[in-house]
Symmetry: C2
Subunit: 662 residues, 2 copies
């Protein structure tokens, strides 16, 4: 029997000013060394890696030229080499190099033979392929069982990584998502942000400022050192007036001048993510790290200075209702209140003159409340009461504006447009209620004292919660409103215009947790949870293990169909909502807090949580079948008052027993 | 019999800060109206077009969902609809919409039926598909013969366009290239520059400044009005110090801040292209057009000011040998003398600090000579003798520096590196001779009086001219030289490192014309001419009708293999070299000049040339079998002294008879 292996190499020759690729058509090269096929860019210096495709069994032939293996006019269904039954030993120079081994096997009945193919990125010290390293790599897997040992090691590496957060609870899907898939997805979003993928092409976009800050919330417990560096990189793209480059290039760490700034929520996310980092790690030293502003060469202002600059920017840029000016857009990039575009060739993201415009965002107001309170609590932790009081005064002022100007009667307004008219109000003919301002005003603490938080959430439940999740806006826009921008250009039911824009849904989950509604919190988590879609996969049409950016809403032609999976902020927020909201295992400045909001039907659950070098084994019992409230908490058998778990010794395992019903 | 039509639509949803695409996965929509299948972006406003795929015969079914037509797991070789033998009338929403008609035909023996498929981009006034326009378009082609009439009209449109320059000469390939293919390629390069194509992905690059100026040389006779606008657009990306954004985005017409400027030849190409435009059109009014500098908001300096600023920049930025400083690079983007890069993640194009660096370019010196002389002659034409004298004084000063410092004994040096060592000299161990400095020093007039021009060209012939054209450098670099940059990182024989980088070859053709060597001029034209490759197509592996960027040189693993066809400056320069150099039909400020340099073996040739609204029918006879020199010239039967054809009346046809051998 003759077997042929086959891989297609794909290396790019040159990365030219970060946004342009030339494919290896020109100069990709291969080297063949027995069973090892190497693919290089063909560039001879500054080259520090190559690709190896090898086999642990000695091949009887090889091919590396795709035109030879496949045939110039064939498809892979009828590739030339398998049709011919033999390799042609072709050596590729440029174009699309492939790797293929010919293996001739003779097996008697019942006989078996084991061998492995190895596909590897090999680092090398100089321009020359390190054949000795490739040979050693193949030799390492030559022994039967070595491959399985390696897979075991890989599994173990993931197990160790993921074991820092594991849950055992009555809901199978919750277990499956939290323990494996959601955690692996947050690493993908942290690494790739919204970069080139199945869904996006071109790398001009780079990493989004607000995206990356939010992505970090989901994986700071997994990769705290990398999160630290990312925070400093992000802060370094802030300008001295407080605005931020909306996007930056991860290799150069420079902001994208083409799109610039002017997205007036951006800087507040830096406050949120920095506080999350410190709550997870306890490492407040990051605040003193020198960073500096992108527009001030040589500046070395520390990270805390950046956070204060962020807060100050919002305070200095408020409109006539006392709410923050929106700029090009806030979190909803498609709500462009200062754009008024009529030119199809124009980007909504950068069109329009935002200088001097008065459009205001209630969503940014809510985000400001959240961020200012986080920073105030950080100052409490740092024992800086004057700074805390200053932040809380700013908080109170913004809260007063929100309650005085942004309440529409049954929910919070979304914004005031450039003419001062309300957006997301019962007076609108379409786009009467938006999810973002309900989520962020409530998460920021608005409506907590006066019942509006609950009223707003009930409106969400009544008007926005659909079978496939909470849609972003209702009624969806049926015509283009130049004063509202891109969102009104989308077909109803898709993307921001009435689609289930999943990113917003975990915010609502967190709101339900705030309100102590465990059933609704879990329902809202499950509504967009991909693991629930296995039985509806023909409709869902996306991976049942990765959150998607969007699920088409009921107004769409294809309701329930998911699109743009993987690189979405939903991953991070869903993990936060589930682990910190529903399960209530929440890092805080002073330690780990336990404050669940679960379905009353759950009898118990157990969480393993690695936190600041200690493993906490947390058993939560729910004998009274409530949603939350800690009735009793013991740590290694000793009773503790409240819901904050005292820190254990680094390296130790601490057993926490919690009884709900307080 | 059942037929199925099939096209794949590909529209992008959103152009986001010019460098990022989201595919129609999200929201592309189709509409079916009988035989008309429309594909739209799904965006409802600011939409001014859609795609129509229609059929003039009533279909019995349709499909627009690729997954339905092809099948989720099938390939096009075994698409589901043809396998099933019937359409499924699927309606796509997003993803990859396709268009397919099912047509049921019944033909008796000998019977035939004619119908047409129409694929069109339909402009429409608003967001709604203009079905009436689509219907009318299909109706227009319903009548048998209407399609052929339309093709005739298309052919006629091209005929009229291309008829402005047609040759009849003894060489079949020259006729084929000039009359059709070379002219159509220059329109492609003018439209697309080096943008996204088979070879490049990402649109971050946009249009190159020097590329676009050179592309314009080839098609100013075809699209003079568009060339005028392009010149003004390009000039507007120049900065007030004379440098230029190296690339710019054609939609926004803004320079790319990421790559910036510092390519010290860029601005001189603007002089060359502007002079070419005026020589072709006689339209010196462009010099007074307000343009302004990219870094001076509101500036309105005219185009002539820009040309002077370009000249002044070079004069103000010379090194210790009196030659122009090279900056990041000159025309050869890969010769990076101030880069010294050791970081694989760094772009050679932008790495290195060019401020204060002293590396000098003999190629820019030659280009300066050429540009300064062009501008001096323009001033002569404009009757501004003081400006002319000023330019000629600068010319003389640069010429003296070139002759004193850049002559290596048998050819011109390429450059002095940052340490002051010669590049492209007999003292180098590799990279001893480069083509660019020979071409541009000679084209700029260096070596004309002292025999060095001929000596340099003989060196090119001896050391660089190979079977597949003139290679860029010899010996090719075999190791990385940090002081020389990217060129030395390429494998020998490919791209700039000893490949036939075709763009340079027509320069050499023009040099041979200057020296009166008709045979060598045509040989050098034919050496890279794609039409000559039909018999060697298995080696050439590229279109035999479009110039390629590169043909692998003898040092390569695949000598003779062409890569990166179509979008190359070779197209424009080859057209200039053939029509203005070899055939010698050359626009000049005062009119059309006839100054051929043909193979002595040619008995005669005939050129039709549209020029400033007059059609010149130019017959050139060569009874003495010489290369050039006008012995006699008659215009509509009247003798004319010299080789400048007096202007005819606009709209007239002028008959010119030329006898060579003067």
């Amino acid at each position: 029997m003759t077997l042929f292996s086959y891989v297609e190499f794909c290396l790019y020759e040159a990365l030219d000013d970060m946004t342009n690729f030339q494919r290896t058509y020109s100069i990709g090269e291969v080297e063949i060394d027995g069973a090892a096929i190497y693919h290089t860019t063909g560039l001879r210096e500054r080259r520090d890696h190559c690709t190896l495709f090898g086999c642990t069994r000695e091949p009887t032939g090889f091919d590396t030229n795709r035109d030879v293996f496949v045939g110039v006019h064939n498809g892979l269904q009828e590739a030339a080499v398998p049709l011919a039954g033999r390799a042609f030993n072709s050596v590729a120079h440029g174009w699309n190099p492939v790797g293929s081994h010919q293996l001739d096997l003779r097996l008697e009945p019942g006989e078996e033979e084991t061998f492995a193919f190895v596909l590897a990125l090999l680092e090398q010290p100089g321009p020359t392929v390190d054949r000795a390293a490739g040979h050693a790599l193949l030799a390492r897997y030559a022994e039967p069982g070595a491959v399985w040992t390696a897979f075991d090691a890989l599994r173990e590496r993931w197990r160790v990584l993921l074991d820092g957060l594991q849950v055992d609870c009555p809901d199978t899907l919750v277990r499956r998502m939290l323990n494996t898939w959601n955690q692996s997805q947050v690493i993908a979003t942290f690494n790739l942000s919204r970069s080139a993928s199945l869904w996006e092409s071109g790398i001009g976009r780079g990493m989004g400022f607000r995206d990356s800050n939010q992505d970090l919330l989901g994986c700071v417990h997994l990769v705290p050192e990398r999160a630290r560096q990312r925070l400093l990189d992000l802060a370094a793209t802030q300008l001295s007036d407080g605005t931020c480059f909306h996007q930056y290039q991860p290799l150069t760490k420079k902001g994208n001048a083409e799109i610039g700034g002017g997205f007036n929520d951006d800087q507040l996310w830096l406050v949120v993510s920095t506080c999350a980092y410190i709550k997870e790690t306890g490492d407040a030293s990051i605040l003193a790290e020198p960073v500096g502003y992108a527009d001030v060469p040589g500046s070395r202002d520390d990270l805390l200075h950046h956070l204060e600059t962020s807060i100050a920017f919002t305070l200095a840029n408020r409109g006539k209702h006392g709410l923050p000016l929106i700029g090009h857009a806030d979190w909803n990039d498609c709500l462009n209140l200062n754009c008024f575009s009529t030119d199809p060739d124009e980007s909504f993201q950068t069109a329009g003159d935002v200088e001097g415009s008065r459009a205001e965002s209630a969503m940014i107001a809510g985000l400001f409340l959240y961020a200012a309170r986080e920073l105030a609590r950080l100052y409490t932790h740092l024992d800086r009461p004057e700074d805390e009081a200053r932040l809380l005064a700013a908080y109170d002022e913004m809260l007063a504006a929100v309650e005085a100007e942004a309440w529409d009667g049954a929910w919070y307004l979304r914004a005031f447009d450039a003419a001062g008219s309300p957006v997301g109000s019962h007076v609108c003919d379409e786009g009467r209620i938006f999810v973002e301002s309900q989520a962020w005003c409530v998460l920021g603490g608005a409506g907590a004292e006066n019942g509006r938080a609950r009223r707003a959430l009930e409106s969400v439940q009544e008007l926005l919660a659909k079978e496939d999740g909470v849609v972003l806006v209702q009624p969806a826009y049926t015509r283009y409103h130049p004063e509202l921008g891109e969102i009104t250009s989308y077909p109803p039911g898709y993307k921001e215009n009435g689609g289930v824009f999943c990113h917003t849904n975990p915010w609502i989950t967190l709101c339900w947790c705030l309100l102590g509604e465990g059933d609704r919190a879990l329902d809202s988590y499950l509504a967009i949870c991909p693991a629930t879609r296995e039985s509806r996969i023909e409709t869902y049409r996306s991976e049942p293990y990765a959150f998607a950016q969007m699920i088409a809403g009921p107004d769409a032609a294809t309701p329930g169909e998911a699109k743009n999976s993987w690189l979405t902020g939903t991953a991070a927020w869903a993990l936060v909502a589930l682990s910190q909201g529903i399960l209530g295992i929440r890092p805080d400045y002073g330690g780990l807090r336990v404050d669940p909001c679960i379905p009353p039907g759950w009898d118990s659950f157990h969480v393993t949580r690695r936190f600041r070098g200690v493993v906490y084994e947390i058993g939560v019992r729910n004998p009274r079948h409530v949603s939350g409230g800690v009735h009793g908490l013991t740590v290694d058998g000793r009773e503790v008052f409240g819901n904050l778990v005292p820190a254990g010794a680094v390296g130790s395992v601490v057993h926490v027993d919690v009884e709900l019903g307080g």
